[in-house]
């Protein structure tokens, strides 16, 4: 049996997936969820092989939900938003169904899944390392058992931590499995500067730039912390600050 979960915030949209799926005997639908949080819970509980996933959903999007999974199942996206198609294929989704979709189109997606086999290898890593264009404006991450949504506006600075990034906010420090490069591209370049290989700082948090030994500098933050500035980071910082 193929364990399946449907996640979409519109009941009628889940019902048509159920209707189309009813002809696939090997499919076993274990749960129908109406938001990403319920989806996460169900995925944890049932460990499905395949999920049908809407993009625009309450609180967190389908993409953000996927990011929180360490070992995501195979995904078929179902959405009315065709602008997400590229992003969906970057996450190595099996297929991307544009609403409304025909039965034929749906069956094609299912064939694709059945042919490629149970799980697509490497989905997990690829999702977490996505370097997508277009600002996302917020970070969704797992903080112990809670899901935390951090708007970009609340970031004080970012610190590289192996394959992860430490996100420093007023509420404390959070770990996200994305790269510094991703954030450097995604954050507003007028506000955030990569002052060092391991640091991105929000310029409005800076209170002082001090010279530190020969040719190197540190910035003091409003929170009292000090961040090192590299040789290549200093001119970037000066440029953004306009000095």
């Amino acid at each position: 049996m193929i364990k399946t979960i449907i996640i979409d915030d519109e009941p009628l949209a889940t019902e048509i997936v159920l209707e189309y799926l009813s002809e696939f005997e090997q499919i076993q639908v274990l749960a129908v969820c109406h938001d990403g949080f319920a989806g996460l819970k169900a995925i944890k509980e049932y460990d499905p092989d395949l999920i049908f996933l809407d993009v625009q959903m309450p609180k967190i999007t389908g993409f953000e939900m996927l990011e929180l999974l360490e070992n995501p199942p195979a995904v078929i996206f179902t959405t009315a938003y065709d602008e997400y198609a590229m992003k969906a294929f970057d996450t190595h989704a099996i297929d991307y169904l544009l609403k409304p979709f025909s039965k034929d189109r749906f069956e094609k997606a299912m064939e694709k899944y059945l042919k490629t086999g149970e799980r697509v290898v490497g989905v997990g890593q690829d999702v977490s390392k996505l370097e997508l264009k277009g600002p996302s404006e917020r970070i969704v991450l797992k903080d112990r058992n809670d899901i935390k949504i951090i708007p970009y506006t609340e970031i004080i600075y970012l610190e590289a931590n192996d394959d992860y990034v430490n996100i420093h906010t007023v509420d404390g420090k959070f770990l996200k499995n994305k790269t510094m490069k991703f954030f450097e591209n995604d954050l507003d370049a007028k506000l955030f500067v990569r002052v060092h290989r391991s640091y991105i700082v929000k310029i409005t948090e800076i209170t002082k730039i001090e010279s530190y030994e020969k040719d190197s500098y540190i910035v003091k933050l409003r929170s009292g912390e000090s961040i090192p500035v590299s040789k290549s980071g200093y001119p970037k910082l000066k440029k953004v600050l306009g000095v």
Partner: protein, 352 residues
């Protein structure tokens, strides 16, 4: 134009000086042919040219602050007249003072002084006309630019409206609902098709420019809500309220619906569970007040600042009423509120 010469680069200065010199020498030679004495003629003409340039400078500064209107031709004429008379007398007495011993030259000058005054007047008048023409042209260009800007804004607003009318996501999701209903609940599917058709027909109706009554607007909004409730009925509740005495007041079309759609979207995607949207129409004094509230979660990282849709509404209100204070948004205690004010003492057939 002389002020413009102040901004000239060196090459242009050189040209101006050369032209002035050529002018002085030419006229001096002309005078010399009637009364020998090229030096005196050159001095005379040179000095008068200098006075003329001063006069031009003076005129230019007057017309910079004062542009005579069509019917003030006499006033316009008086400036060059006064300037040329001053140039004439200053020139005359200065030359008499300097060339006091050249009686024959002075006699010659005295003989032609009427012609001289006339020539000076013509020169000054010509320049004044040029200045007037230039300033008119400038005003016209400025007016044209402003008209173009207004035109652009109107077009943008129309474009936005058009996009708003098409609402691809709303449409596709609604069609998906119909597709889902059609086999299992054909009656509901048909109901939804009818609702959607009526909503679309009202959205693209031709007399969009006309204002409609509060009651008509509410009917239209309820069509929209009806469709959204088919999609989100398990979560969505929209509460309409209006004062009895506001029922027949008028408002521009397609102003409230985008805001309601925004409220529904932010409510549904901003929080989990049930979403209550409140829409109210009230009237006080000369205004119709429309308020829409939706729940939101401040911690969810919704983009701050005005959305494109809100900016478009604000611009449209500005185009309609020339005011910027008719649209307000408020974030308070997990409730987002927008408020529109529609002035009632306004020409309600004038769209822009």
């Amino acid at each position: 134009m002389i002020s413009a010469t102040l901004k000239f680069n060196k090459a242009n200065w050189l040209k101006a000086i050369l032209i002035t010199l050529a002018w002085v020498m030419g006229v001096a030679y002309l005078v010399h042919t009637f009364e020998p004495g090229l030096g005196m003629a050159a001095l005379d003409v040179g000095f008068h040219t200098f006075l003329l340039i001063l006069g031009y400078f003076f005129l230019e500064n007057i017309f910079r602050y004062y542009t005579p209107q069509d019917r003030q031709f006499l006033i316009f004429l008086s400036f060059p007249l006064v300037v040329s008379v001053i140039i004439f007398y200053v020139g005359k007495y200065s030359i008499e003072l300097v060339l006091i011993h050249q009686q024959s030259y002075l006699d010659f000058v005295k003989e032609i002084q009427i012609v001289k005054l006339f020539v000076i007047f013509l020169m000054v008048l010509g320049y004044a006309l040029l200045l007037l023409f230039h300033s008119r042209l400038e005003t016209q260009i400025k007016m044209l630019e402003r008209a173009e800007q207004i035109d652009k804004l109107v077009k943008e607003a129309e474009l936005y409206q058009l996009r708003q009318q098409l609402q691809p996501h709303f449409l596709f999701n609604s069609l998906n609902s119909i597709s889902s209903l059609v086999k299992r609940k054909p009656d509901e599917a048909r109901e939804m098709v009818l609702q959607l058709s009526e909503f679309l027909r009202k959205t693209i109706r031709k007399e969009n420019q006309k204002w409609i009554s509060v009651i008509e607007e509410i009917e239209y909004l309820q069509l929209f809500v009806g469709i959204e409730k088919v999609r989100f009925g398990h979560r969505l509740e929209v509460d309409f309220q209006f004062d009895e005495n506001c029922k027949s007041l008028l408002l521009p079309q397609l102003l409230v619906q985008p805001l309601l759609e925004n409220a529904v979207k932010h409510g549904l995607y901003g929080v989990l569970g049930a979403v209550l949207i409140k829409v109210s129409f009230e009237c006080h004094e000369e205004y119709l007040f429309i308020k829409i509230t939706n729940p939101f979660d401040p911690s969810a990282g919704q983009a701050s600042g005005e959305s494109f849709g809100q900016q478009a509404i604000r611009r449209r209100l500005f185009l309609l009423f020339g005011r910027n204070d008719l649209f307000q948004t408020q974030n308070h205690a997990e409730v987002f509120k927008v408020e529109l004010k529609i002035p009632q003492n306004y020409d309600q057939n004038n769209y822009h």
